[in-house]
């Protein structure tokens, strides 16, 4: 850190502690906390709150432990990490209320696809200057997802590039090679289906994220700027390749139709009826967990997503970063912690994340064992590097999911076409942008 930034940080800290003192003394007259602060202003630590939705489950390095390490090393910037127990959308509602009340934490976890929505709703702080300092620590694609029209609002945490998971033992038994193109994939699927096995599941409930990511992998850019207006292209030529790919699989009945989060999906996996699935990188530990204790253990493997477009590429299915919220009194310190926390690779990997920070990830032992000793995270990191770099989201992206999922359900039942899903995405995108009062062409 240069001396200039150190100085700014110091004076900022002083300003913050002053305002904290002011707040204290006005709120609670003659509060005991005002005494030490006035005697030595710089000694008052800045306190940063961080609201996250990490699982913090059994066998993981707990967020509290990672943060405790930071706190021990940084007596002047003390961080409190709190887990939010609700869904992502509920957290946004809570943060919106917090910001109105002036009690918002400094840092919060936010999905990449939600970042533009949070920004438009006025919940985010512009931290471009600070973010630039840490830019080189993160993969470029992920960093870009934490910017909104060139303004950085935080730092990336983990990525969700699409990959292909498959049961290697079953593939070998059926004499199948891992498909690397859409054509190979449909051929292999047909062959497996003859034996009553399926190498892909069409997942209506994940239509919004999974299919948009597949469109990205096929080279599509759904949203772009055109004369300071949004140009929506959710059903263009590249996207149609994805539609055709799934339509073929569905028409030939060589993919099963199961919702990703329904019990049937898990049952199909444990019963070894479903022996392959296109999924996000963060699904690696989840799939292992779903099938723990079944004969699948040690049989699975991870490969790159088959090429869906003109070049081998992957697409972003989920993943999230840590944003700085509006009204944060110490954005510089918050970003300093943000950078430190999101480069704690081992701890974050233990939480099941494929980190956005540069650096080697060590595949956790249980995950490695499930995938037959494969260095899974190295494969996932490769997918991260292969992400379509140009797939920004619109601020109303969260509002288009239901229409896509409904269309996907019809396509899965044969009552509609896969292409209809993208038509629905197109229409819902344009309509929701108009509803939100944002400029959109067409």
């Amino acid at each position: 850190m240069s001396s200039r930034t150190a100085r700014t940080t110091g004076s900022l800290a002083a300003a913050v502690s002053l305002s904290l003192v002011a707040a204290c003394s006005s709120g609670t007259p003659a509060g005991p906390s005002s005494a030490p602060a006035s005697s030595a202003a710089p000694a008052t630590p800045v306190s940063i709150e961080y609201l996250h939705r990490l699982p913090d489950g059994e066998g993981m390095t707990k967020v509290a432990d990672i943060v405790a390490k930071w706190n021990a090393e940084h007596p002047d910037v003390q961080v409190t990490a709190t887990k939010f127990d609700g869904k992502a959308a509920e957290m946004v509602t809570k943060l919106e209320a917090d910001i109105k009340a002036g009690t918002a934490p400094c840092l919060a976890q936010a999905g990449y696809a939600e970042v533009p929505s949070l920004f438009t709703r006025g919940l985010l702080e512009d931290v471009t200057t600070d973010a630039e300092k840490y830019r080189s620590n993160f993969s470029e694609g992920a960093f870009t997802l934490m910017t909104v029209g060139g303004t950085a609002v935080g730092l990336p945490q983990d990525g969700g590039p699409l990959v292909y998971y498959y049961n290697k033992a079953e593939f070998d038994q059926l004499g199948l090679q891992v498909p690397t193109t859409a054509e190979e994939f449909t051929a292999a699927a047909a062959k497996a289906a003859e034996k009553g096995k399926y190498i892909a599941a069409f997942q209506p409930d994940e239509a919004q994220y999974s299919l948009s990511a597949q469109a990205a992998a096929a080279g599509a850019t759904w949203y772009s700027a055109d004369n300071d207006q949004w140009k929506v292209d959710a059903s263009g030529a590249a996207t149609q390749k994805v539609a055709a790919f799934w339509q073929t699989l569905l028409d030939s009945k060589s993919a099963i139709v199961e919702n990703r989060w329904g019990d049937g999906f898990k049952k199909a996996l444990t019963d070894q009826k479903l022996i392959g699935t296109i999924g996000a990188a963060w699904e690696a530990p989840l799939l292992a967990g779903d099938m723990a204790g079944s004969p699948n253990e040690g049989q699975w493997a991870v490969a790159q997503l088959p090429q869906l477009g003109d070049a081998p590429m992957s697409g972003p299915d989920g993943g999230s970063g840590v944003v700085v919220l509006k009204g944060c009194p110490a954005p510089a310190q918050a970003m300093e912690f943000n950078n430190w926390f999101n480069t704690q690779i081992d701890g974050l990997v233990s939480q099941g994340l494929v980190v956005a920070a540069k650096g080697a990830m060590t595949t956790p032992e249980p995950v490695k064992a499930f995938y037959g000793g494969q260095d899974v995270f190295a494969e996932l990191a490769k997918a991260n590097e292969a992400l379509n770099p140009n797939f920004p989201y619109i601020p109303t992206f969260p509002a288009i999911g239901a229409d896509m999922a409904q269309a996907a359900d019809r396509a899965g039942k044969g009552e509609g076409k896969v292409a209809d899903i993208f038509t629905a995405a197109q229409q819902a995108s344009v309509a929701s942008l108009k509803d939100a009062g944002l400029p959109v062409a067409g």
């Binding site: 489950g57 709190t82 887990k83 939010f84 609700g86 509920e90 009690t103 049952k267 989840l286 967990g289």
Partner: protein, 286 residues
């Protein structure tokens, strides 16, 4: 029921009627407890067994592993959260019952100007979905400095328009005017009459209202989700919700947490049992 023995033998129901009734009640019991049975069995299973074995039969016992997963997922806070829930629900239930019965008594037994308007307001309070009022409520509680304190959960939970309606109905059907008049003639103050005479007569009704508010507070997660951030203040339902909102929960652990969380409710229910009877007895004593 306590006066069952007084019933003349000629009115004792026939054996056939008894058996038939018992059969109907047992079938209903099976309907209500069947899913609970699944819950108990599943709380001992691993995730894999949950999806590969029959839901009705136990598989390899994974209860201990699920318990340790539950402790780990809740950061060792599980029992603390249960204690929090007991505390919040008990205070909300007790306060709420008293508030409801008092208001119900006021509405039932006194001529108050604007009574009709009050009842319309109460009903209107029920008409708007609570979940959409949570955000404005949060701002109100922030204004009075109670956000992230137990009171932010307790106070909204103990205000039950439904409890007031119930209180009013029960007062009307089981507190005769003569008893109040008699107490007044004895020189008792209004407060004394209420606390010593009226509340005693209302015991079964109060137990019911208490139970409803207690359970509603226990199971509410949206309110604490918005109001509480400190892990040490969370109620147990919020913690379970947190485990479920992640993609890949260990179901056995969540189910076990739910069962362990229901135990205090069962204990409470059984503990309240005698008050139901007491109320009945005092009703027939007069």
């Amino acid at each position: 029921m306590s006066n069952r023995a007084d019933v003349p033998p000629s009115l004792q129901p026939s054996r056939a009627a008894r058996v038939l009734t018992w059969l109907v009640l047992a079938l209903a019991l099976a309907y209500f407890l069947g899913p609970v049975y699944w819950l108990v069995v599943s709380s001992t299973k691993s995730n894999a067994d949950l999806f590969s074995t029959s839901g009705l039969l136990p598989a390899a016992n994974n209860a201990a592993a699920n318990y340790s997963a539950l402790m780990s997922w809740t950061q060792g806070n599980f029992w603390r959260w249960v204690a929090n829930s007991i505390l919040y629900s008990t205070i909300a239930g007790a306060l709420g019952t008293l508030l409801s019965v008092s208001a119900g008594y006021g509405l039932a037994k006194f001529r108050i100007p604007g009574k009709g308007a009050m009842q319309v307001a109460l009903l209107a309070g029920l008409l708007l979905p609570i979940s959409l009022l949570t955000v404005p409520l949060y701002l109100v509680f922030h204004g009075v400095g109670l956000v992230n304190t137990p009171w932010a959960v307790i106070i909204p939970s103990c205000v039950s328009p439904f409890g007031v309606f119930l209180g009013r109905i029960y007062v009307e059907s089981s507190v005769p005017d003569e008893i109040i008049e008699a107490a007044r003639l004895d020189g008792a103050s209004e407060a004394r009459t209420f606390f010593t005479v009226v509340l005693r007569l209302l015991a079964p009704a109060m137990v019911t209202i208490f139970l409803f508010i207690f359970v509603a507070t226990w199971n509410n997660f949206l309110l604490p989700l918005m109001m509480i951030t400190s892990p040490e203040l969370k109620p147990v339902t919020l913690g379970l919700y947190g485990m479920m909102s992640y993609f890949n929960p260990q179901y056995g652990a969540v189910l076990q947490g739910a069962l362990l969380g229901v135990l205090p409710l069962v204990a409470l229910f059984l503990g309240l049992q005698r008050y139901w009877r007491a109320g009945l007895a005092s009703g027939s004593v007069k």
